[in-house]
Symmetry: C2
Subunit: 318 residues, 2 copies
DNA sequence: AACATTAATTGACAATGTCCACTAATTAAT
DNA sequence: ATTAATTAGTGGACATTGTCAATTAATGTT
């Protein structure tokens, strides 16, 4: 049961491939403008990052024919950049390493490559840079699956456009994952509008998590009373789950709430949201009340959780 | 005055380049799995799309050495796929064309290439496919500037997540372009929430414009009274401006409003929004009132525009 | 000990790409 | 009109890049 694919989608991918292949000829896998030809540069790059590998490992990770690699290594060895040493444990294997000269050569190559990329990014506006990085990240993630390494996330305060993003992602994700209807997105929009209108910078805060210029999570702390803070709109994008982002966001809220002087933090959620529940339990929240309600097109059980901010330190950091 | 670039951004671009270069080795510029080697396939592809070009043109558009191209063409000619004919006007030039066999060969190649890309897209969820296409589009647009051809946009009804997107983009764009503060984003969120809560499918509608799976515009029609429709939240992303999208969105609203039986359409805007003003004038709206107000951190002049839906047909389509 | 397997290399060769020189046709300059 | 300069395309020579099968030496298996 294969899914039908729109022809224009296929064309768009092909166009991108053609375009990028041609451009990549210019970028040369980011290793242009180095004194080394691309295959040699790739070997140097890999050796600089993984010292002591064997030729077979290297051939596998560079997706290069072993015989070709052997010749490349011979060349680099005769230039004094690479050292091939027979493995003591297994005499068939050679362990490879850069010599001091090889390390210098790589440092130079690396600097040129960075400068080249910097030269591409510099003329862009920050917004276009974000668009570019976000696009690259999306492609890596979709096509690469788990292959591509997860880059770390960063947290920042909210900016124009963030609130709408929070609304959008709540609406889309809860519709998809739980089948909630449009009134949920409306509710989030109302909560968000109220937050912006009544924002008290000293006692309230929103965090937006980003990865490679792309928003991947959010959380809000709003003032419910002089001593009670409310945690709201906690969201972690599916592609950023499992990185500890949810825990970090909750921890950030607790730290802020303590710093500002709240004595209690509460939050409202619904049963069935197990990942979130886990986070709250872990952070020390306890369930203080439940009430049935019909909302968002479903019969749900709303839950109120509470945490005493004074009694204990739940932040595991020193 | 170059802008400082964060090192992790540079690393992210380099990582993508390395990754994609390696993967593109597998995709081979989307022309893998064809009976032709890549350079020949590229020539066939180009000739199939631009009949009668000269070798120099071809060499330029493929970014290939003329002498190399000459040899490639010789090969293809001896296989009976390409015809080289001396130009009558200029005896130095040869005009190139595919033979019937060449066209068949290309058709086969093209089909295989499409099948290959289809095979990549099929296992993806529609959401991941959108992410992929959106990412590719973003990269082409940012790096390619105006080079990459603009693909056409499509309109669709709103879905979960769209409303938040409208809020987000209004907030971000008006902050950037006019310096409006967060209360504007809050206002849009309130308008959006109200739309979702009181949505009357028979008499109200929202359109989201997409290009390559990426949202690039919006417009809403809401009921103000039995006979008066209100046009709201018209937005066109900067990267999609100049495509006639704004005109199309306004036209869509008018058509819908007429179909549903409204007699008048009104809208509220502010002076200084010149691109929008132009669209409204063009569609036949007239300015019916102005009032000063201080909102969004600025002293503004609000404007009410109106259009009699019965008196004239402003839709230029047949 | 005989055999199979593995890591790395070598030989042979094909594909791909680059540089320079050259021819023929055309255009520009005198 | 003749000469010089330019342009389109080609061929020679060569370097780079990549592929495949065979070989060597070390290790593992029976």
């Amino acid at each position: 049961m294969t899914r039908p694919i729109a022809p224009d989608r296929i064309e768009a991918v092909r166009r991108f491939n053609r375009w990028y292949t041609q451009r990549a000829g210019a970028l040369r896998g980011d290793l242009l403008a180095t004194p080394f030809p691309l295959p040699q540069a790739r070997v140097l790059f890999e050796l600089a990052h993984r010292d002591g590998v064997t030729a077979a490992d290297l051939a596998a990770s560079l997706a290069v024919d072993p015989s070709y690699l052997s010749r490349l290594l011979s060349g680099l060895e005769s230039e004094g950049l690479v050292l091939r040493a027979r493995d003591k444990a297994d005499g068939r294997r050679h362990s490879l390493a850069l010599t001091a000269a090889g390390k210098r050569a790589f440092a130079d190559l690396d600097r040129r490559s960075r400068d080249e990329v910097r030269g591409i990014l510099e003329p862009l506006t920050p917004e276009r840079e974000n668009r570019l990085l976000g696009g690259m990240h999306a492609i890596e993630q979709v096509l690469g699956g788990a292959e591509s390494p997860a880059s770390p996330f960063t947290l920042r305060a909210h900016e124009p456009g963030d609130l709408g993003w929070v609304v959008s992602r709540h609406g889309a994700l809860y519709a998809r994952e739980y089948g909630w209807d449009a009134t949920f997105e409306a509710l989030v929009a109302e909560i968000g509008a109220k937050f912006l209108r009544e924002f008290d910078p000293g006692r309230e805060r929103a965090w937006i998590a980003e990865r490679d210029g792309e928003r991947v999570g959010s959380v809000f702390v709003v003032s419910q009373s002089a001593s009670v803070a409310m945690l709201r709109l906690l969201l972690v994008e599916p592609q950023a789950r499992g990185l500890g982002l949810g825990r970090r966001l909750v921890a950030e809220c607790m730290r802020f709430a303590r710093t500002v002087g709240y004595r209690e933090m509460v939050l409202w959620t619904n049963d069935g949201l197990h990942a979130a529940r886990h986070l709250y339990v872990e952070a020390g929240f306890t369930l203080v009340g439940e009430q049935r309600h019909t909302s968002f097109g479903h019969a749900l059980v709303g839950q109120t959780w509470s945490l005493d901010l004074g009694s204990q330190r739940n932040d595991p950091d020193p």
